[in-house]
Amino acid sequence: MDIQFTEEQELLRSSVQRLLRDQYDFEARRKIVADEQGFSRRQWEAFAELGLLAAPFAEDAGGLGGGPLSTMIIAHEFGRHLVVEPFVETVVLAGGLIERLGDAAQKQGFIPDIIEGKKIWTLAWTEKGGRFDLADVTTTARREGEDYVLSGGKTAVIAAPWADYLVVSARTSGSRKDHGGVSLFVVDRRATGIDLRSFKTIDGRRAAEINLRNVRGQLLGKEGEGVAALEACRDRAIGALCAEAVGAMAELNSATLEYSKTRKQFGATIGSFQVLQHRMVDMFIAHQEALSLMQHLNLSISDGEAGLSRLASGAKTKIGYAAKFVAEQAVQLHGGMGMTDELNVGHYFKRISSINIQFGDPAFHVLRYARFGAAA
């Protein structure tokens, strides 16, 4: 049950760690976030060179065949360093969908450019008023010759301003909230008829409201099977997001512990106060449990186990609440300093807040988990 990493996985982990330690410390990240673009093309190329963008893809798709466990290893380290570049969006979401649904031409056309760091992708599934429901789709797609034409709106699409391509969910039949009738499309982000209104996210990344007016797109996968594909995609995304959250928790805990051993009040280090000791023990336990569940989930994704969606919702809930607890307490224990933009603690807090919203918050997933349990 404990993941004893293979030599290859250890190598992957240590090389990501080295790269981020050398090039992605908190100050370097601050510069990247403050940049007009809001992300670093140079970093993205460095990730490609190291093989991170190839790691999870199957070998016959030109990848390294590392699967979900390599995603977990990378996302965990990215979480520790608050990496803003769209690894999950490009590789796990769009890349994963192309690998699973794409025809030969699409795979050959798109995956090599992802792996080489040439093209950035994201997934546009969220709509206004749809909250976390993958099937709540009003964007429409109608066939026109070989292609489709899409119209509608998507909301809060992370990494859209950076992206070259979007995978967009749109309705080819049925009415709002019908599970069937939703299909996925590849859309060139610079295509005619796309309008983006960009904004900064709570965790220093970029996202956009997207308006589509008769935008040409090509079908990815079969018509009407979009929701099922998105559900599986969400499970994998949760595996990666949970790993990011656990990485962030680890850093918050060590920062808080270190601070408590140096910060003095009333003539004593605050770490000598029992109330704070016990709080930090609870933070430690929250991290340990989250780490165990993160491994369990990603192993299950890797093995393609039955009941995966229930487990993914469970992990999103438990790790989400655990990360929220750790983040809030880390700010609390840092006192006024925890409120400052200067310190990294608040930035981890914001990343965790963002992760908790993506693909559904813990309050959404706990009920989804419960309903799966009732059905079982």
């Binding site: 512990l257 000791q277 016990h278 023990v281 430690f284 336990i285 449990e289 989250a290 569940l293 309903r371």
Partner: protein, 393 residues
């Protein structure tokens, strides 16, 4: 969620599973085995396990243990706990046994160990005293040397199942002038000795689990001293380390959650908002169990690879007890008005209890489980241990 098992270990798991199914005594399947069984009934399973050679998984082979790997011990623990079998008396098998084979002399090993394994001797623990709760080093019970005997005077309390006990292992003060932790010795006392009196303490659930044990001029042969005089604290700490293993209680929590789900479905209509509230609460506690189970399996896998688990036992104790308390609280809440009733003790089929049978033990379980975060080193003490040993505070 399962530990990845080798074919041999998987076969072992199946063997344990079918052994329990075929041999666990039906008369031990009562509403609340912890309170409803007589001493003889509660020893039935102990004797079956002893005959099979499985009574003491932790013990080395030379003293009568089965010689299992860490993985097999865990599998055994997991299977027995999932099946809801009554665990053998911890004070005998898990606690005093290892102290005797680790620190006792040959004569003590020969005299006591076989009788622990067979269930012939029932042991209780003489640690706590009035006024010394979690701070055990404040032991005041005195043992004064008189020839080849100690004369013991004092008052032990919270002594679990002392009413059944043949022997008590006691922390006694042998050097009143030494620092608190260095003047303590570890004595084995025959409960039939003149001067030993047991008085029941009835707890809030109405049950008689714990007792006061009074020791008045009790003569204890010097040969019943474990190890060296005034070194008792070392042995006591060793024993407490054993006490806190496997307290995650995954199997038990899982069984109680399944029962809780059935009760909620039977008691609360699906269109009542309370139903959704319970579903949510149950999901949350199920996830607590899942995360703890995943952590336990991670630690077991690490131990099997020779990695020291550190104070993982403290983590399991804290979370395992918090989780079980939550489950018993939810169960008590789920039965609604019938939660007003509490079974009378000692239990008897003649006492009337209102409501369906599934709710009859909910009140007493809720009340009784409050003890979990207090005993065995309170959860606050466990947090102190982690703060010191892991966080370096």
């Amino acid at each position: 969620m399962e530990l990845a098992l080798s074919p041999e270990d998987a076969a072992f798991r199946d063997e344990v599973r079918s052994f329990i199914a075929e041999n666990y005594p039906t008369e031990m399947r009562v509403p609340n085995p912890e309170t409803d069984l007589t001493k003889e009934q509660s020893l039935l399973w102990h004797r079956i396990l002893h005959k099979k050679g499985w009574i003491a998984p932790l013990w080395p082979k030379e003293y009568g243990g089965p010689g299992w790997s860490i993985t097999r011990r865990f599998v055994f623990e997991q299977e027995t706990s999932r099946a809801g079998t009554l665990p053998p008396l911890a004070f005998s098998v898990t606690m005093v046994g290892p102290v005797i084979y680790t620190f006792g002399n040959e004569a003590q090993k020969k005299k006591f160990l076989p009788r622990i394994l067979s269930g012939e001797d029932w042991w209780c623990q003489g640690y706590s005293e009035p006024g010394s709760g979690s701070d055990l080093a404040t032991v005041r019970t005195k043992a004064v040397r008189d020839g080849d005997h100690y004369i013991v005077n004092g008052h032990k309390t919270w002594t679990t199942l002392a009413q059944h006990a043949d022997w008590i292992f006691c922390l006694v003060r042998t050097d009143p002038n030494a620092k608190p932790q260095s003047g303590i010795s570890f004595l084995l006392i025959d409960m039939k000795s003149p001067g030993v009196t047991v008085r029941p303490i009835i707890t809030i659930d109405g049950s008689h689990e714990v007792n006061d044990v009074f020791l008045e001029n009790v003569r204890v042969p010097v040969e019943n001293l474990i190890g060296e005089e005034n070194k008792g604290w070392t042995y006591a700490k060793f024993l407490l380390g054993n006490e806190r293993t496997s307290m995650a209680g995954i199997g038990r929590s899982t069984r109680y959650i399944n029962k809780l789900k059935q009760i909620v479905e039977a008691e609360i209509p699906p269109d009542d908002p309370t139903h959704l509230d319970f579903q949510r609460e149950i999901a949350l506690v199920e996830l607590d169990v899942l995360a703890l189970e995943a952590t336990e399996l991670r630690v077991v896998a690490q131990m099997a690879r020779g990695i020291d688990p550190g104070p993982a036992a403290s983590l399991f104790k804290i979370r395992g007890t918090e989780i079980f308390q939550k489950i018993t609280e939810l169960t008590h809440r789920a039965i609604g008005n019938h939660g007003l009733a509490l079974r009378e003790q000692p239990t008897s089929a003649n006492h009337f209890m209102p409501g369906p049978e599934y709710g009859h033990t909910a009140s007493e379980k809720y009340l009784n489980s409050r003890k979990l975060s207090i005993y065995g080193g309170s959860n606050e003490i466990q947090r102190n241990i982690i703060a010191k040993a892991v966080l370096g505070l």
